[in-house]
């Protein structure tokens, strides 16, 4: 609501006031960097093996190059994951240490070109997929590095697949080259359910839009249809007429996930913090489920759907 209000407010200003902006350098309190965790566990369709990226934050302000990025990766950490009965230790692998085939696969996963990549990405990964995450289980994370301890917990909730999905003509003026995606779901009654979605077009990288998470407070226990925006059209360069719509003839892959509340809170605050800039806005602190650092440790119950944009 407030986001919409701010958009309107900014538009109104833009119409008849001349604003002026200039760059400024905020004063840092010099508290130093924090550990940043970005780790995922997937259950359900075609799950990605559990992996975790461990970095350090940068001071705010300035330009960063490959050296700064490479230096931000935290190496030689002991990263353990436990589901209560099984505990595994993730292995650190770095991009430049991989053979070219694996490197290509990994680069594709992140939507990058392996040949010209200048950052030596390092991840901690359950290489042998010993953990095999399952819906309904809770996974504890324990990281020990340089005398510091970082912990977190996530639950992979039960999978809630979509009932169906279809493309329809866009609202408003007739346009036979664009389509909107309508999904239908039966939300389980009683429990709080949280969802996140990704979209890939024509076999490309899975992407998220400005608002990729939703909770079921409005539609708890209901079966209903809703529109899912195309994240590909949400960048600033896209014609507003195409915003959120899909292009007829493309092949779209939708990754539909059920997540836990802490994971939802992280992405919800992250996306709100990004969009909630401008007049009247106050800062939003991203709500992390990491103790001893920033970031997210998230479990996903995943469903995939691939279909051609047509109606």
């Amino acid at each position: 609501m407030r986001q919409s209000f701010h958009v309107i407010a900014i538009s109104v200003f833009a119409l008849f006031l001349t604003s002026c902006e200039e760059e400024y350098i905020p004063v840092s309190s010099g508290e130093g960097p924090e550990y940043v965790v970005e780790g995922y566990l997937e259950a359900g369709d075609n799950p990605t093996p559990p992996y975790l990226i461990l970095t350090k934050s940068f001071d705010f302000y300035g330009a960063f190059g490959p050296d700064e990025f490479n230096d931000s990766f935290v190496h030689d950490a002991e990263v353990k994951v436990s589901d209560g009965t099984l505990e595994i230790t993730m292995q650190e692998i770095c991009f430049f240490d991989l053979d070219s085939t694996v490197r290509e696969l990994l680069a594709e996963q992140f939507g990058l070109n392996a040949d010209s990549l200048t950052i030596n990405f390092c991840v901690y990964i359950d290489l042998l997929n010993q953990l095999q995450p399952q819906a309904g289980k809770t996974y504890d994370l324990m990281i020990a590095v340089d005398g510091d301890t970082i912990t977190s917990t996530t639950q992979i909730p039960p999978r809630v697949p979509l009932d169906s999905l279809k493309f329809e003509p866009p609202p408003g003026d007739p346009n036979d080259s664009l389509a909107q995606l309508t999904c239908y779901i039966s939300d389980p009654a009683g429990d709080k359910n949280f969802y996140r979605y990704f979209v890939a077009t024509n076999g490309g990288q899975l992407k998220t839009g400005f608002s990729s998470v939703e909770e079921d407070l409005f539609f708890d226990g209901k079966s209903f249809g809703f529109q899912l925006f195309n994240p590909e059209t949400e960048s600033g360069d896209v014609d507003p007429e195409e915003f959120g719509l899909y292009f007829v003839g493309d092949t779209v892959t939708l990754k539909w996930c059920t997540i836990d509340e802490a994971n939802f809170d992280f992405w919800n605050t992250l996306e709100f913090a990004k969009s909630n800039q401008g007049p009247f806005s106050s800062y939003t602190r991203i709500q992390s489920n990491i103790i001893g650092g920033l970031g997210v440790w998230g479990g996903y119950s995943v469903s995939y759907y691939t279909l051609e944009v047509a109606y």
């Binding site: 309107i8 902006e21 760059e23 960063f64 409005f218 009247f280």
Partner: protein, 782 residues
């Protein structure tokens, strides 16, 4: 037992009557003080004996006074800022009704400010503290943003009052929150006093008679807010002659009509204002993809009164205002509508039981509604919020003797507060959130006595008792208990002592001190840097406790050169309990009961205020300076670290002046300087999902650069002595005359390219109001 009761009652009655003192050979002079041209009653006029200025009184909110004197001949002086002194000789052999018609002091259309006499230094002699009245004529000649004369922006120029932001009509008083100001229009609470995201106030200056800000010693007659009272009275309407006035400006146009219904007995006033910038742009907007987009706001004030007899008169007044925004994108079949605004209605009956006992009954209705609607093909939803009150007030002014002025009364209000209720549909499926309207009853009983103990010592003793009940229908969010309509869910009560003393050092100087206890049962919590119309008022409930505050203040007051100058130094300390804020990482998804997102803490504010005002002569105005600190501590925010509020200003200086260059020309100058707003700095960035995210440092730990601005105005009256039925003037204003780039907001911008391994992080500050000239044409006719 019965005998005991009778004796007790008799003793009490005797004791009460003794307040009247020497009843024998003393009689009461009572009546109303009015403007002779318009019949408007004058609030706060001084009425005193020419031979002994210490014997006197002040007219109340309805222009009524009562004074009891020994039998004999007395010369009564009546004075009021901007009017010629009126002297009336009275041979007092019995009680007398005396209605005084005051003549304006200087034959000029512009601001009229006359010197005061020593004897009428009310600001020195009275027990009131932190109280400033601003005549609307003085406000009208000051520079205004885009030519829109604005009461709320003018009160921000007083010490102890800070602005919510660049161009904003929102204000904070002595470190209190935006919701801690009781804003009254003819006694009706105005819950949202801003138009256009708060850039303009809802008060049309043409319809306003008097504005009083009480920032310190809030008398017991007022309650319900912690920090201040802004009491605005609408004009009653000219009961002598029909007249009109209006103006055409860059933003809006205004028209006010007033006149007698029955000459001398009854009058009416109708006043309207509407903006039209987007209406004029419609031919261009229709050619774009946003055809149908429009925005305007309007205000309508109306008032009438009727005097049935010397003892009875009624007033009926109302206000209706709306902001209406429509954002349309027909090509996407999309429409967003945003109507919101206030409606108030006040009925008042003044009745004089005796020459010493004045009674007022007020029946008040006020309704603030906010609605936002989204509509696209089969998907639509609406958000509603607002506050609706019904209030009854029974107030008595009792003048037992010249040494006592007693006010007492009972107030009762029935509240309905609508949080963000969302209803919508997607195709055949309807959905709504869990929010429901909340109901509450609020009662208050008060008594206060302004007591002149001796010529050099006065005390104002007040006590206000309040009771607040949250009522059903309601389902407890804690234990699921269901409450039926009217059933009490939660009860809170409070006893609020108000004590103010005045020690007069000499006729021109005094020392005052006061203690004010206040309780606030309705709360507005904002997650924005300023309050917005979408912010929701919530009642005290089983989750939310009342906010409570204590304010201690002391000051030295001095008048110089027979009141030509008035000066004061006031120090205050304010302690605030059960303050409310949103929890950290709050996201406004508008889906849940907003109270579930609150955290509770405490606050304190303290400061020194310096004020010097020149009241007369060609050059008049004031300088106000405040040195202050205000902070908050919430156990659930940053582990209880104490932090300054966003409206904490260490230094706040205002210079306000107008100069009558000639009868045809008046120049106005406003200069403001304030310590920069505090803000929460971005501290570090980190990579998530291939993009940089921001991590913020401690709350409000950095400050923007200082805010300063100069505004100028020139009012040109082509024919100041014209006796014609139609006269006009031009007001030229320049806002931000030296084009200071004051920061309005900050934002951050990132560019990340993982492929090349580069990223750039930048922060920008945005200022919105450059130098802004404006012109307004005002006219009057009769």
């Amino acid at each position: 037992m019965r005998l005991f009761l009778q004796r007790t009652i008799l003793a009490g009655f005797m004791c009460f009557m003794s307040l009247a003192g020497h009843a024998q050979a003393r009689h009461t002079i009572s009546g109303y003080v009015k403007d002779d041209q318009t019949g408007e009653t004058l609030i706060g006029a001084n009425v005193y004996l020419e031979s002994d200025a210490k014997t006197g009184t002040v007219t109340n909110t309805y222009g009524f006074f009562s004074m009891t004197l020994p039998e004999g001949v007395h010369r009564i002086v009546v004075s009021y800022l901007g009017y010629q002194h009126h002297i009336e000789e009275v041979n007092l052999v019995s009680n007398v009704n005396l209605n005084i018609n005051m003549v304006q002091g200087i034959e000029m259309q512009e601001v009229v400010v006359a010197a005061k006499g020593e004897e009428e230094d009310e600001n020195v002699q009275s027990t009131s503290m932190g109280r400033v009245s601003l005549p609307i004529e003085q406000i009208k000649v000051l520079p205004a943003l885009l030519g829109e004369v604005d009461i709320l922006k003018t009160i921000q120029l007083l010490p102890g009052v800070s602005s919510a932001g660049e161009g904003s009509a929102g204000f904070y008083v002595r470190g209190g929150g935006a919701d801690q100001n009781l804003v009254l229009l003819d006694e009706a609470v105005v819950y949202n006093s801003g138009h256009f995201l708060g850039f303009f106030s809802v008060f049309n200056s043409d319809a306003i008679k008097n504005t009083t800000l009480i920032k310190g010693g809030i008398p017991a007659v007022y309650g319900g807010r912690l920090s201040s009272v802004l009491d605005i009275q609408m004009k009653e309407g000219n009961n002598q002659n029909f007249q009109g006035e209006g103006g055409i400006g860059l933003i809006s146009s205004r028209l006010t009509l007033e006149g007698p219904i029955v000459k001398g007995k009854s009058s009416f006033l109708v006043s309207g204002r509407r903006t039209y910038g987007f209406d004029l742009a419609q031919p261009f907007i229709r050619q774009t993809d946003f055809a149908g987009t429009n925005y305007f706001f309007y205000d309508l004030n109306a008032k009438m009164n009727y005097q049935f007899s010397q003892k009875d008169r009624i007033y009926l007044s109302g206000y209706f205002g709306r902001d209406v925004l429509t954002f349309a994108q027909p090509g996407r079949d999309f429409e967003f509508t945003l109507p919101y605004g206030n409606a108030t209605a006040t009925f008042r009956w003044n009745h004089l039981f005796t020459e010493k006992l004045f009674f007022n009954l007020s029946a008040i209705y006020n309704d603030y509604q906010f609605k936002a609607g989204f509509d696209q093909e089969e998907f639509n939803f609406d958000i509603f919020s607002g506050v609706r009150d019904f209030t009854a007030k029974f107030d008595f002014d009792y003048f037992p003797s010249n040494d006592h002025q007693v006010k007492t009364g009972i107030h009762a209000t029935k509240h309905r507060l609508t949080p963000n209720i969302i209803r919508g549909s997607a195709g055949d499926t309807e959905f709504e959130n869990t929010a429901t309207a909340k109901y509450a009853n609020e009662y208050a009983i008060y008594i206060q006595d302004d007591w002149k103990i001796n010529p050099w010592f006065r005390v104002n003793l007040g006590l206000r008792g309040t009771l607040f009940q949250q009522t059903g229908p309601y389902t407890s969010g804690i234990n699921g208990e269901v409450y039926e309509t009217g059933e009490v869910v939660q009860t809170y009560s409070s006893l609020e002592p108000r004590i103010f003393i005045n020690t007069t050092l000499n006729p021109n100087a005094s020392i005052k001190a006061g203690v004010t206890s206040t309780t606030q049962y309705l709360h507005l919590v904002s997650n924005s840097s300023s309050t917005l119309p979408a912010d929701v008022w919530v009642p005290s409930s089983e989750i939310v406790k009342p906010q409570r505050g204590w304010q201690y203040a002391a000051g030295y007051f001095q008048n110089i050169r027979r009141g030509m100058y008035e000066a004061s130094i006031e120090a205050y300390y304010k302690s605030l309990q059960d303050q409310i804020d949103y929890r950290e990482s709050y996201v406004d998804n508008s889906v849940d009961q907003v109270e579930n997102e609150f955290v509770f803490g405490s606050g304190e504010a303290y400061g020194l205020e310096f004020f010097i005002r020149k009241n007369s002569g060609k050059l008049n105005g004031w300088i106000g300076y405040t040195l202050s600190r205000t902070d908050r501590t919430f156990p659930d925010i940053e582990n209880g670290r104490t932090y300054p509020t966003t409206y904490d200003r260490t230094h706040d200086l205002s210079f306000v002046s107008n100069y009558n260059i000639s009868p045809k020309l008046i120049a106005g100058v406003v200069f403001v300087y304030a310590t920069g707003k505090s803000y929460t700095p971005p501290e570090r960035v980190y990579l998530i999902d291939g993009e940089l995210q921001t991590d913020y440092g401690p709350r409000n730990s950095q400050r923007l650069e200082p805010y300063h601005r100069l505004d100028l105005s020139l009012t040109w009256i082509p024919n100041p002595t014209s006796k014609k039925n139609f006269t006009s003037e031009w007001v030229f204003s320049v806002y931000n005359a030296y084009n200071r780039q004051n920061t309005f907001f900050l934002y951050t911008d990132y560019e990340t390219d993982l492929q090349s391994g580069t990223a750039e992080v930048k922060a920008y500050k945005v200022s919105i109001f450059p130098i802004l000239p404006s012109v307004t044409w005002n006219f009057k006719f009769k």
